[in-house]
């Protein structure tokens, strides 16, 4: 009898280790630290290779995170089509999640395996803010290609996605409350000794309405609809952005302009999108928590995720166009704060699962010790160590902060400098058409300009175009502009490789 008990628990441990083998042993934080480091030093190609190396498995086994990061890296090299290809794969996975959310949301609330194992073995579904930002970024890529209609489709998808997330979270909150009451788990994150609660109490976090809506997405929606001449849809976009960030009075200007503004001929309405840094890392932190073990209480060390912000890049407060026109930048979306807010919302669930698991594990360890002597006890301990790592997965190449500035400038070539950026390079950019988006990414010492192609379809509607003049495709500006002080060589190979890929397509 004792023997069979022992062997069954051994079997259980073996099964558990086998199960977790796929995802839980990798250190996402470790992998991404390296990848992000390469991007910061200006070498996106190396970062891409690094990402591929870390995800060398079968194509169909690649997870949401891989596609998130890959799309972002390709966007930095302005390969908008390839970037969207990766992101559409991610989008398909998010869509799967949405379908589950619509038909059987209860499945999402507690993925069963995780009660026994660690959170890292749960399928990575992406955080809500990541799901929302994904479609916004796909839209930005389409705008980069001058395809505003496709951008509109993605933006509409964002609205629907937000609505689904809102419903699921509302439901989940209720259920989590009921569950905690039932299981009698009363611990909150405030009672975890040594846990850095200050990351949740920051006003940047507490002022957020929720963990998924961001003002940038809505402002971009407004801008896209405005560019397409759909004022009735542009207005709620700007209005929502204002509601989400009432502390940024300049956002209201867009709404006023929508009604009273006449486009000056020969001018382009430009939205500058300046993204700084990277999304924060999630790291494990071991905290001793008292849990009931049989008749007595025992202290079990449980790992909880903590947010580690990327402070490498300061966000500039303004930018200069052609050395004379200063354009103020508003930091409209703080992804770092959103990540912390998401974790804060998740904490009750994480604590609940961890405590239930700690109890189960404590019982198992005790039993293994009682029945199996030294070997059993050792095995169980090893298992404890291996599985006790918090879930460190998150979309890391997202920026930490998104700032926007808006101005009407004459269509054509311009130069831009960013005040306060570590890299004070002058960026050449070109705008044309009635509306344009100029996205810039600052990462530590490197600056990436993701220059848009001209939106050829948006000639001012008052001009009656002569039919014989079929508008030539806008002169393609040098599309790849990786400006980096540290690696000139990499810049060159980059432009070459993207040129090659463009030719191949034709």
């Amino acid at each position: 009898m004792p023997r069979s008990r022992f062997s069954s628990s051994l079997l259980l441990a073996a099964v558990v280790v086998l199960l977790s083998g796929c995802g839980s042993m990798r250190s996402y934080d470790g992998e991404l630290k390296q990848t992000v480091g390469m991007v910061k030093s200006g070498s996106v190609t190396a970062a891409l290779q690094d990402l591929e190396k870390n995800n060398s498995g079968k194509e169909e086994n690649k997870d949401l995170l891989y596609f998130f990061e890959k799309g972002e890296l390709l966007r930095l090299t302005t390969e908008f089509d390839n970037s969207n290809q990766a992101w559409m794969r991610a989008d398909a996975k998010v869509h799967e999640w949405e379908e589950t959310a619509k038909t059987s949301p209860e499945k999402l609330f507690g993925q069963v395996g995780s009660f026994l194992l660690n959170d890292r073995t749960r399928r990575y579904d992406g955080f809500d803010y990541e799901k929302v930002l994904l479609t916004s970024r796909i839209a930005l890529n389409h705008i980069g290609n001058g395809d505003w209609d496709k951008a509109r489709t993605e933006i509409k998808k964002t609205h629907e996605r937000e609505a689904i997330i809102a419903q699921v979270r509302e439901k989940q909150l209720e259920e989590a409350k009921a569950e905690a009451e039932k299981k009698n788990v009363k611990t909150t994150y405030k009672e975890l000794k040594g846990y850095p609660v200050e990351m949740f109490d920051d006003p940047e976090v507490t002022k957020l309405a929720n963990g998924y809506q961001n003002a940038f997405t809505h402002y971009l929606a407004g801008f896209t609809y405005e560019a397409l001449g759909e004022k009735s849809l542009a207005a709620p976009g700007y209005r929502k952005a204002m509601e989400l960030r009432p502390d940024l009075p300049r956002l209201g200007g867009a709404l006023e302009k929508l009604d009273n503004h006449k486009q000056r001929p020969g001018y382009t309405d430009v939205l500058f999108v300046v993204e700084a840094g990277t999304a924060p890392a999630r790291e494990s932190m071991q905290i001793p928590v008292p849990v009931p073990l049989g008749q007595r209480f025992g202290v079990v060390s449980i790992s909880f995720p903590v947010i580690h912000s990327d402070k490498s890049t300061a966000a500039p407060g303004q930018l200069m166009v052609d050395g004379k026109d200063a354009i103020s930048l508003d930091s409209i979306t703080n992804i770092d704060a959103m990540a912390r807010r998401s974790l804060k919302d998740e904490m009750p669930g994480i604590i609940g699962r961890n405590i239930v698991r700690a109890i189960a594990k404590g019982v198992m360890q005790k039993e293994a010790g009682d029945r199996g002597g030294l070997i059993g006890s050792l095995l169980a301990t090893a298992f404890t160590v291996v599985t006790e790592q918090a879930d460190e997965r998150s979309w890391r190449t997202l920026p930490a902060l998104i700032s926007i500035g808006r101005a009407q400038i004459p269509s054509g070539k311009h130069q831009m400098t960013l005040a306060g950026a570590q890299d004070s390079k002058v960026l050449d950019f070109t705008v044309s058409g009635s509306h344009a988006v100029v996205p810039v990414r600052l990462m530590s010492g490197s600056t990436y300009l993701m220059q848009s192609k001209a939106p050829a379809a948006f000639e001012p509607s008052t001009v009656v175009a002569n039919a014989e003049q079929i508008a030539p495709p806008a002169a393609s500006v040098n599309q790849v502009e990786v400006i980096s002080a540290s690696s000139e060589r990499d810049t060159k190979t980059q432009s070459k490789s993207s040129l090659v890929s463009k030719k191949r397509k034709k």
Binding site: A163, A221, G229, K231, S232, G237, E243, A467, E468
Partner: protein, 203 residues
């Protein structure tokens, strides 16, 4: 023992599922995987209290019915109307173009009103005219002449507003859609009407 039971019941379940899956194909003009169905496109939709298909349909119906009763249209000389903007003053993404499109379709079908192309369609219209006249590709006799477009007599414009309130678990949304018909020559408002909708949801 238990495991055996479970596996047997799973087997039974799989068998049952695969059996029921086959029934739908072949015998009826429907190929279906199960949970997708066509529904009544005119059904009252109350899934959420955001602006929905029923609101669009009832607004379009109420507005077009009311407008055909207006004096200028009853007079029977089929005035020429153009659709101007319906402003969205809510913070919901409501495509007011889609509402005015429905209103326009119903009015046109009633035969009481004619419509001139609106600003959005203007570019396509002028492009087409220019292509016929300037490209040299078209037969002279079939070319549509420039300078014959008709100016509208009336302009249709309006707005949609909402009042949203939440108290505890209850969310109440009130929509008001107003539309007016303005005589373009003299600026007189010849007709105006409103449709309001209240939707309340509780958890």
């Amino acid at each position: 023992m238990k495991i055996k039971h479970v596996s047997i019941s799973i087997l039974a379940l799989v068998a049952a599922l695969s059996l029921s899956g086959c029934e739908t194909t072949g015998s009826s003009p429907e190929v279906s995987g199960g949970n997708v169905k066509y529904g009544d496109s005119k059904a009252v939709e109350t899934l959420t209290n955001e602006f929905g298909s029923t609101d669009l349909q009832t607004i379009a119906e109420a507005m077009s019915r009311s407008m055909v009763q207006s004096r200028v249209i009853i007079a029977g000389n089929r005035p020429l109307v153009t659709v101007s903007e319906v402003k969205n003053k809510t913070s919901e993404y409501i495509d007011t173009k889609s509402i005015t499109d429905s209103i326009r379709a119903q009015l046109l079908k009633s035969g009481a009103v004619r419509f001139a192309v609106d600003i959005d369609a203007m570019k396509t219209q002028t492009d087409e005219l220019m292509r016929q006249n300037n490209s040299g590709l078209y037969k002279k006799t079939t070319q549509k002449k420039v300078g014959n477009m008709q100016g509208a007599d009336y302009r249709l414009e309006g707005n949609i507003t909402s009042i949203v309130k939440r108290a505890g678990d209850v969310k109440d949304v009130y929509y008001k859609f107003s539309l007016q018909l303005v005589d373009i020559e003299n600026g007189v408002i010849e007709w105006a009407d409103e449709k309001d909708i209240r939707k309340t949801s509780g958890r």
